[in-house]
Symmetry: C2
Subunit: 115 residues, 2 copies
Amino acid sequence: MVIKSEEMKSEVREGMRGGPGSVAIQQIASGAALPAKCRLFSIVTLEKGCGIGAHEHSGETELYYVLEGEGVLNDNGALKPFRRGDCNVCGGGATHAVANERDEPLVFVAVIVLE
Amino acid sequence: MVIKSEEMKSEVREGMRGGPGSVAIQQIASGAALPAKCRLFSIVTLEKGCGIGAHEHSGETELYYVLEGEGVLNDNGALKPFRRGDCNVCGGGATHAVANERDEPLVFVAVIVLE
C-alpha cells in the first residue's frame, strides 16, 4: 500500500500535554494502515514558542527523530538540545517534553510502539 | 534517552535482497534502545542505480516514509512512483522492492514493527 502525502490526515492541537502554543501533526499512516503494535507514525512540527508538555510513556515506547531545526528536549527531567539527526527514546515509565524556542520550525518523526 | 547522530551505527550493504548496487543504512536506534516489538528504525539512502530487491514481510510490517528524492516502488507487484512525502506500508505477506534511477539520492525512514 502506498499512502500519498495529500491523503494523510493533518491536525493542529492546542496546548498539547499542557505545552505552549500549538502542535501540527501529519499522520503518515493511521487507522487500519498502522501495524497493530504501532499506535502513531507521524510528522510533528513545532513553530517558535510551541511545545508538547511533559508526559509519561508506560506500556509503550515513543521514538522521535529530528528532521529539521533545533529544540529543547526534556528527557525524563534533564533538559538537552535536540537537533536535526538526534533521536529520543522514551518508554518504561519515563517522561519527555519538547519545545522550540528558535525561529526555524522544529520537525520530527514520531513513532509509538506498544509492548 | 537521547541518541546523537554520531552515535548511530551506519553500514553499507551490497546487493541487498538481490537488488542492484549498495544500500546505506543508518540505524537511528538499535539493540536495547529499540522497543521489543520494533526490529528496525533506520534511515535508508539509495544513490542512483541502487535498490533493495523484492522481499516479503510476514509476522511484521515495514513502513517507509520518503524524506528526499524520488524512486520506483514495487508495491506487491505494482510499480509506482515513490516521492518525498509518500509512505509505503508492507505486511501480511505482501512484498515490496525499491530502486532509485535518478541523479538525486532517495532517502527514506524505515520502521519494522512486529506482530
